[in-house]
Amino acid sequence: MTTTATVRPDDASATALSTTELAAVRADFPLLERTVRGGQPLVYLDSAATSQKPQVVLDAGVDFYEQRNAAVHRGAHQLAEEATEAFEQARAAVAAFVGADEGEIVWQPGATAAINVVAYAFSNATLGRGGDAAERFRLAPGDEIVVTEAEHHANLVPWQELCARTGAVLRWIPVSDDGRLDLSNLDALVTERTKVLAFGHVSNVTGAVAPVATLVAAARRVGALTVLDACQSVPNMPVDFHALGVDFAAFSGHKMLGPTGVGALYGRRELLEAMPPTITGGSMVEVVTMESTTYAPPPQRFEAGTQMVAQAVGMGCAAQYLDELGMEGVARHETELAAEMLKIADIPGVQVIGPLDTANRLAVVSFVVDGVHAHDVGQVLDDKGIAVRVGHHCAQPLHRRFGVAATARASASVYTTVEEVVAFREALAGVRAFFGAE
């Protein structure tokens, strides 16, 4: 670990990462040194889409391939032992980082795959797979699955599909004008018919943090299982799945300073043990005959085929990197950047989609500019070396809710500076003039 940056959560005067600490963090990320669009410094404000990677994470992948590469969980040779150890140590690091036990973290290609594993487990159980143990995963026509209007497509479409396959009914918690969930009708939405309550921890559009305790309590009252999309929360704030009390959670490696191609499914142990597999094949079995197969216990039951071992090792390294940085400090850093970003609401013609206060929100700020399309906004910012996301951010229903087809979005990570956000604000202030918008 090369980072020297540390924060002291117990020090009330510590606002966030100090200038020195932030400089040390930035020095860990080689890509941040490059220039774009004619030699300008890169201002990367698209970390909610994918984060940049520190050198230690890049090195971890290379080191694995150079020194330890072998198939895991098989073979008796030394390399196989070392590869397996690296793979399982990474799992332990990720588990510790998110408040889970090792056996409760299942490697997946990403968060989308992780959510689909749960959705298809319900499907397979409904078709009779999994025996008596899988009863909690069986759906009948009239059963309901509740999501929210704020979901990323990854936590919406798999549930729509599950409903289409099983006859269950999809319902959703609406979003208020301020971008937060409207829980005024929660008791009517989450009822005895509800079998799953799936929701995002932090919206990738509005940055709003969902009231997890309230939603988990509502689900528990009626015996529904909760599925948390934690993609935006895990990289930017302390997350403890045991403390949150959710049943399942999904998050990706590439948004938390780790590699692409790897993510994780968290499941409470007793649920993973009861859940039928989705992807079947090698490595996830106990005894295979020509007639039938018995399955390995979790997490291996959900890890069929050769796994993305180098990426998993990289994701474990990223979890350790963030852990050493201290997530309390990272969260304060996020709040400080959110406050700086939200000042764009003072620019004439700029409207923020989402909460305007920094309480329970992260530095993910989507906005529209009166008279200028989001793509044109993004292009002018890009001309100054400022990278933002434009489009619907895989959340079309939420955009429809606000009557817009597309927004531009600025988002931060541990390496983002206030100076970068100021540069973004200044560039944004000139956008309407460029297009001659009155």
Partner: protein, 159 residues
Amino acid sequence: MSTLEQMYQQVILDHAKRPVGHGLVELAAGHGHLAGESHQVNPTCGDEVTLRVDVTPAGTVAGVSWEGQGCSISQASVSVMTSLVEGADLAEVARLDGLFHDLMSSRGKGLDDDAAEDALGDATAFTGVSQYPARIKCALLGWAALKDSLARSGALATS
């Protein structure tokens, strides 16, 4: 001129603000006219256009009308295309479509063909767009709608 200014040329900004042919016109096919409508969406950004075309019995474009929403490049491109193809015969429309696609593949270099660039007229203003791979599809959205609406009208089959 910066690459950004090359992309957003004044003619493009003017067309985006005061688009030609904007506002769908009822199609009253008759007297041998053929009419077609097409709705095109760019799924990656949500830009869309609904375009109607009216073709005379002689095979010339009598009128184009459209509605849409999207970035200035996509909306201006439909507008420029409308002013370019109205009154043109179908062979000329096909030639212009081919030339505009060539222009969009030119990576900012243009067509190096004066006759071709004369034919494209204001549409050559989109040369700068071809330097930005992510934006080429914006400029092509309207052309896709025109081609599809002509196909739906049956005019391409009879010409």
